[in-house]
Subunit: 608 residues, 2 copies
Amino acid sequence: MADAPATDPAQAAAAAAASPSNNPSPPTGDNGGDAGGEKQSKKGAKKAEAKAKKEAEKARKAAEREAAEAARKAAGGAAGGEDLAKDNYGDPNHTTKVEAERVHLRDLGEEHVGKSVKVRGWVQNSRMQGAKMCFVELREERNWAVQGVITASAEGKPVSRPMVKWVGALPLESFVLVEATVQKPLEPVKSCKVSLYELHITKCYLVARGPEVLGLGLAAANRAISSFDDEEHPAPAASAAAAAAAAADGTTAVEAAREGVEGVTLDGVPAASMITHLNNPVMHKRAPVQQAIADVRMATRKLFAEYLDSQGFVQFEPPCLIGAASEGGANVFVLPYFDKTACLAQSPQFYKQIEIAGGRKRVYCIGPVFRAENSNTPRHMTEFTGLDLEMEIEDDYHEVQDMLEKTLLYIFRGLAERCAEQIETIRAVYPSEDFLLPEPGKEVRLTFAEGQRLLREEGPEEFRNVSDFEDMSTPQEKALGALIRAKYNTDFYVLDKFPEEARPFYALEDPADPRVTNAYDFFMRGQEILSGGQRIHDPALLEARIRKKGIDPNSPGIKEYIDVFRSAGVPPHGGGGIGLDRVVAWFLNLPSVHLTSYYPRTPKRLLP
Amino acid sequence: MADAPATDPAQAAAAAAASPSNNPSPPTGDNGGDAGGEKQSKKGAKKAEAKAKKEAEKARKAAEREAAEAARKAAGGAAGGEDLAKDNYGDPNHTTKVEAERVHLRDLGEEHVGKSVKVRGWVQNSRMQGAKMCFVELREERNWAVQGVITASAEGKPVSRPMVKWVGALPLESFVLVEATVQKPLEPVKSCKVSLYELHITKCYLVARGPEVLGLGLAAANRAISSFDDEEHPAPAASAAAAAAAAADGTTAVEAAREGVEGVTLDGVPAASMITHLNNPVMHKRAPVQQAIADVRMATRKLFAEYLDSQGFVQFEPPCLIGAASEGGANVFVLPYFDKTACLAQSPQFYKQIEIAGGRKRVYCIGPVFRAENSNTPRHMTEFTGLDLEMEIEDDYHEVQDMLEKTLLYIFRGLAERCAEQIETIRAVYPSEDFLLPEPGKEVRLTFAEGQRLLREEGPEEFRNVSDFEDMSTPQEKALGALIRAKYNTDFYVLDKFPEEARPFYALEDPADPRVTNAYDFFMRGQEILSGGQRIHDPALLEARIRKKGIDPNSPGIKEYIDVFRSAGVPPHGGGGIGLDRVVAWFLNLPSVHLTSYYPRTPKRLLP
């Protein structure tokens, strides 16, 4: 262990005193290389890109020559032309090992101070301070970054001037392996999440080189996206052009890329647009805000499964490929399947019901569902993740509603608890107020008719005539959400007893009033996130309602569906389907579900 | 609670003495209604089916009349023509509630003896014993069934003779709500999993009526399936015909369906064929063996996630819809996607790598993958579930191999522990020997070349000339599996250093010997279940290997893939993909992966 030199605490304190954490102006947070650039034609951008690449390569070579020169000079003053630190950096074949204790940034603590540690991470920012010292921010995951300091010693080892210069010239987002001594800065380092410790670098090896010019810099990637109009433009190249222009006046492309490109827009496309991000998927995903959203998404999935597991549910897997469109012919993707035609499942509805008919008491599933809907809105994607459950009803259909409500409350409370750190990271980019939950025991459940009455009596002028038996529009839903928030102090509520006409053929009509159904929607901040209710389990009743809806009970898919209930006695049951993307987006008050998806799919977007 | 009469222990003992658990011949395990029938043409079968339905309906009506008649007679001896038990059974509108304590069969214990309980379940078997008594097996989930006894009392309440007769005439697989007193039989009830308790029924309401004739009886559904040749014949109807024939000689269709149809085969299709099962999905799924397999499958998924969560992995969701075939054009499903063409993902390979490039250290995903392969074998499906992981490599590619090996060992040990009951249920139908695991610390890892040498030196004659640089065939793999089992006493092992030619373009060649790769397969009982290895993270190296494989590095999908590694420094990484269906099938030694899938998809099968 620890072949690094032991650190004299006095010396360390002196180094810390020189650190920029004590400087009122820390390194600019701008990681450069933004997808900005001058206004120009696409053809021009391509040419400029090629030129920029050439210039960048030239600049890199010049920097290398200069570093070698500096090395020669520095070594001249030390030990006969030799760089005494030469084994402590570089390594293009990255086969060198570091023997010090491997520490993850989030685990750095008092016990490490003064010790030599091994760290791996991305160069997220760096700044030369004269010829002998360089500050380099290293990031491990999400926003876990630490300030590294590298200082050439008088005797040229373990760190020489050429080594400092080499580190300072590493392209941003290069991946490095570092040996360093942990020290405490005099004041917390404001620019890094790990603010109480600093790494005094003794070895630094390049594991994977970043590009000379980033398509999208980290700071830009971490800014709020405001444009979600996803026309697939070619990958932005203008930043390279801007860099080339800068390089022409003597600065290197790397340096140019770090400066002055923020706020510059591409031809008609704002810099903070989803297109730029999706055309630069790696940097989009490295942005702390995106990793934090991903963490919240996955916590939501886990909390859903965790709660249902505790309630005696079993998970199952519905198919994606199905023989016939399960819920009507519109909006379904169709594909050739050997000598047949297949569809992509629009929901696991039928399969959840087959599981219940097949003898499972309570089931859930988590998986992709598909809608061939040409909707380019912040609420729609063609592939999204459904959180679905289905269960036997013993006495009353509200058993299912209770279960769904408890599941969502468990998720919301769990997210606030487990993802506090991530939520903070997200709010720094997408500000939001706390998601208001009802007090326990005071959950808000209105009937659809009560909701409409509220709209008629207290809503905006244009909703004075809404009907109890016609489905709500999105603007109606949002207006009602605002009324309910004002009245009940909650962003989460249920509308029950939806009109018969607004529900699909498998929804059970209310035996007491067939104009409405035993079915409901759940809302978050005035937007629907769940549809559920009791299903028809009696085959004769089911067939009658299918006919009433104008569907042929012998049509493909439908006949097999009714047969399920004819083939053996099936108990009463109900369930619901939750859109995972929407839950995450509206919980965090994000501007679009596209931000919550790992690889959003829209009518215009199939890449990456 | 308990509006049921308190039970006199002496009386209960007398009832128990009369129970068939003391009878050397318990009710036959045959639940009738099998998909058997006489040899006949399809057209004939349809006619016969229609006739059978008519006959069955006639028989049901006759039974109802008879029951009403009996009720009249019984009541005559009691209270002026009235059935004193009439509120304790029936209920076509199933709105009646039972107030007794709700107990699940698996929780039945000594504390319930002598108490009144509420139970819900399926009538899995019933047998009249004279006119006053009936035995009825109630099943709740999987093979959790209990023996119910219903006996008419002299005074006609709480149970009357018409009530007993009504219960005895319930079609099999009807769903009922029951109030009963828990009693201990004198001897354990051999035919039921709950063998130490018996339910003395005081109320019985029909919640959902089963069909007069089952398309597939429970006993048949629970037999081993031997034929997996899935030609989609029409749904079997011959059992109905057989029932009709029986009905003609005076027995009811229900009784006929319970007898004499086992072993009868349809026109050319053996009864225990996958087709019969998949055409009767509800009864296929009610078979205890299928629910036990589903439990093992889901436990495998959970164990996979659980272990990786504990190792610092984060889950993510790759897309199913992609813009270009990720791993070559063959075997890919293609579909129209608005003004574009989309493919269904053949694996999450690229997306796992984008996650690593995007800054996550360790990722896994669980989801559907698709292969448009016209293979009708027990190892193939067109849609299956992949368990995939990818992680940074710090020092050595064996870090990934270790992680995969530990993950699988955790799964195997976890299954043996958590699913002991299910494994027992499965083995009663599909016998198997324990899956042999290597002793801890003695995991078997051979190089591909060592495996081939073993085959050459100790394998069958035909493998005397196998090459170290050519991929193995399935028969070779199986022969090697047998050799390794004999030599190392394990069914689980790894072959490392696969030949370069046998691996895709993203596999890293061994820097010490480019004829082989840093890639491996894992095997269970001589069959491959996992492919994995180190990937190329250097864009120049990746482009070179892509060219070497004869692929154009600028072709759609490939260019975007290489760009991932060009767009920012990506650390070394590796991973593997596990076929969930295969792990479950080979762990249990099942004859086909189709048995492990909830809704198997093959070139001939898209339903249900």
